[in-house]
Structure formats: C-alpha cells, structure tokens
Symmetry: C2
Subunit: 260 residues, 2 copies
DNA sequence: CGAAATTTTGATCACGTTCAACTTCAGTGG
DNA sequence: CCACTGAAGTTGAACGTGATCAAAATTTCG
C-alpha cells in the first residue's frame, strides 16, 4: 500500500463516486470540494488484500476509484455468502462504519485504488452541510434496495434467472460509472465468487452459465462478458434497473413558514 | 381508515419509533417536537389492507405505533419473497419513498395504527436539522444490515438455523420497543409468511418448526412463541443482535477549525 | 516452465419441493 | 349453541433440483 495525501481537484471531479452522486443530487463545486477536503489518503491496494475484517472496528469511508472488491460473510460451517460486489464508485465501510464491529469482511479481488476519509469527519461534514447527510441516506437506501433484490433472487428465483439478473445488474452499475460499453464489460470475479454471491455451488454455477451460453444469450471468456441477446436476457430475467429518485433541494420558502 | 390530525406530546415520547431512535441518537425535547410537528395524520389500518403497492409512487414515511405488516415482492411465476416484517417502531416507506416507483409491496397482517408524514417534509427537516439526516442514514443502514443477514440466511444457512435466527431476531426487535418479555412474544405471522420470508415451502417450514419443537428449543401455539432453551437456540443459530453504533454529536470545536 | 488456481465434466445422493389429503382452528350465521 | 365455512396447520409419498465428491482440462501466475 502506498499513501499519498489527498486528491487533485481535476481528478476528483471525474471520480466514479462523484459520478454516482451526480446521478441523484446536485452538488456545487464548493460542496464537492468540501468533501474532497476530507480525503486523507489515496491508497493503492493489492489483489487479495483484506480491506475490512469481520468482528473488528472500522471507522472509515473509502471511495473506490478503480478496481473491484467483494463483501462477504464467512460462516462457522465453512460456507461463504458474498453479500455484494464493490465496483468503482462504491463505498467501502458501509455499513461497517455504523456498527460497533463490522459484521462482514471485504477483500480486494483486483488491484485497487481508493480514497479514504475518516468516518467521523464525514459525519461532522453532515452537520455543516446537511446535503451530505441526505446523500449518505440515499447511498444506504440504494444498498438496502440491492440487498432486497438479491434476497429475492436467493429465496425465490431459479438459478438461470439469478445469474442473468446478476450480470445485468453489474453491467448497469458499471455503465453508470462509464466502465462498460453497450453490451460488453469486464467481470473480474471467479466462478467461486459468483457461486457464493448467488448461493450456488461452483459446479452448478458453471452448468447454469453453460446453459445461458448454449441459449446464445451471452459469451464469457477471459473475464469478459458480452451480451449477445440483450432482449432475451431481459425477458428471461425480468430485470429492470431500480430508479432512485433525486434528492429534493432545500426549499427556502417553506423554511420561513416554520420556526423549528 | 380514520384520520385524526397529529399526535399528542405525551403519546409521542413513548412512541416505539422514538424509543428506537433513542437507542442510537440523543434527541432533545425540541428536536423530538420538530419531528412530531411533521405528523399529518394518525391512521388506523385494518388487517389485510395494502399500505404500499409495487410499481406505484409512494412519498410518505409512516411510523408504526402498533400492529404488524409485511414487505414482500411478488414474482411473475407466482412465488413471493417476504423481504422483511414490519414491527412497531419500524418505518413504512423506506426504501419506497426514495425510488421513482416502489419496488415492493407492504400489507398489514394485523390491525395497525401508524403516524404518517410527507416524505418531502422530512427531507426539508433534514436541511434545517442535520441530525435527522443522520438518523435517516442510520435507519437505512440498519435496514441494509438486516437484509444482509437475511441474504446470508437464504443463501447459505440450513433451514433450522434460518428459522431459529429469524425468531431470535424478531424477539430482539420486539424487546427493543418493549413488546416482548425475556423469553416470550407474540408472533402474528402465518406459516405461509414465515415460509416466504425464509425461502421455504409451507410443508417444509412446518417440519422445520416441528424439529425445533421436538428438540425442546421452543413452543409455539396460538401465535405465541416461548423460548424454552435460549442457550440451545443461540448455539444452534449463531445469532447475535447487531450492535449499531451511536450517532456522533456535533463537534463545535472542529467546526471552528474549518471554513467550509 | 512449473505450480497453483480456476473451469469444466461426470456420477451419486440428499434435501426440500410439489401435490394431495386430512386435521385443527377461528369466525359467522342459523 | 352448534353447524357450517374457509383459513391455517400438519402429515405423507414421490419427484427433481442442486449439492457433493472426484477427477480432468485449462488458464493464470510466480
């Protein structure tokens, strides 16, 4: 790991996390700068490095600039559930920082570069600039909504459907931060990770994948996915990206009418 | 449904939602009052009434004073996934209000009384009093953390373990709002709901329940659960309630050091 | 280039679903 | 009060999906 202080302004405005925020909130340059000022370090993380460890205290927010990670929970019986995959623009330390001790682990599955800020510093920023508190809520709700979808997948959907939905979701998320073309993207996860994300064994995941391939819906090799029949995939998976509403602006007129 | 305006102060301070907030944030009487001022109506809802409908816009936060509901997602193939059960102190409209259109439905499973406030009004309160934005974040993170646990249950845990964990979780949540004794509580959900929550068929859920009973871990009749071997349940289920950290207070001294 | 990780394929088996019948319970009207 | 009705809970038998175990083929990486 290499630590360099802060972030340059021109770099920050194109940061995938800022790109994501732009998707649901209007931030002025000054506001973006006040967030940038919190960044304590740019960190380069090697593949397989632990970022968060289940059971330990963690009090940081890390914004992923580049690279991929996986949040997972290891069980007593040796099984593993991948809770979420973390892509550029995602935040490490959500929900870990809100708990006394992290309830899951995070590990890098590729080399990464991330920007870290102290959790307390972010909370104090929320007091000064309430908009960031709302942004945090939106982020957390987004997270919860994704989990809800995955829960439905694991509980009630067939394996082919699950896998198709998962790939479409990742594609949509990568497209949001300009890391995917119309029908193609890099998928840096092993089948073991995919299986643990979807609640399937590796052999069965492999067969499920083979089925999607044989139906001509997609190709996947060298960790590169290409959707060869987008319509067919959408039909099979019933996937539709969830539309997060934008955060309402402060209403000054309503302000005057109230004293509290 | 009967609509009466607002809430009385003495009623509000003992409202289960306020009880829950007290668990992770310090709110002054004035702050609690500013939230109370947002309540537009006290609503009495009959059993089986829809509160939120998948696909429709929903822009309210409803704080459950009494009664139980279920958030669920209905699939094309007729299957249903129960995403969460809503207890006194929980909020209806999270995450629904953050989305263009709700991505799940909510239905009352008992008669309920709830206090409704407009979502926009709450957001404006967050601008005036940033602490409420943080409270909202905490609430959302709490929700996300629960989903993460349920995802792990559905994906990787055995049925007996799932069921035991589910019951222990509900017990802990009810205890938090003073609706459960040490080892006993009301469980107003049919086995169909439990099955849909845990991703099991009704017959299998029933057999799983029978197994817990036969092992002397609990009794359940007339919708009343009694844990007869709490230690055994905890051992079997590896359950531990998740410890949400408290929301840090505003730090005035750090304030002065910064201009932004 | 060699070692390790990952992907693929096959055979067997167990768990949990499905379907069906029956029982018990709660609520309602005669 | 009891008979009736529909909902909820319980039990059984047969089936199928996906897990498990094992081994081979292939790729990645040191």
């Amino acid at each position: 790991m290499t630590n360099l202080p802060g972030v340059a302004a021109h770099e920050w405005s194109k940061h995938p996390f800022i790109l994501r925020l732009d998707g649901y909130i209007d931030l002025s340059a000054a506001e973006k700068d006040s967030l940038r000022a919190l960044i304590e370090a740019k960190i380069v993380v090697k593949r397989r490095r632990d970022l968060v460890v289940d059971g330990l205290e963690y009090r940081k927010l890390c914004f992923i600039a580049e690279g991929f990670a996986v949040r997972y929970k290891l069980l007593r019986n040796g099984k593993r559930q991948v809770l979420n995959v973390l892509l550029p623009g995602d935040v490490v330390g959500l929900p870990g920082s809100f708990l006394e001790r992290a309830a899951s682990s995070v590990i890098a599955v590729s080399d990464m570069t991330i920007h870290a800020c102290a959790f307390d510093a972010y909370v104090q920023l929320c007091y000064r600039r309430p908009k960031f508190g709302l942004a945090l809520s939106w982020l957390a709700v987004h997270e919860a909504a994704f989990y809800a979808e995955h829960l439905t997948d694991a509980g009630r959907r067939a394996p082919t459907e699950r896998l198709a939905r998962f790939l479409l979701e990742i594609h949509a998320r990568l497209a949001m931060v300009a890391r995917a073309s119309e029908v193609e993207f890099e998928l840096p996860f092993s089948q073991e990770v995919l299986g643990d994300a979807l609640g399937l064994s590796v052999p069965h995941l492999n067969r499920t994948l083979a089925q999607l391939r044989s139906e001509g819906l997609l190709t996947l090799n060298k960790r590169r996915v290409q959707f060869t029949d987008m319509k067919g995939l959408q039909l099979l998976s019933q996937f539709q990206p969830l539309a997060l509403a934008r955060i309402p602006e402060r209403d000054q007129s309503a302000e005057a009418a109230l004293s509290s």
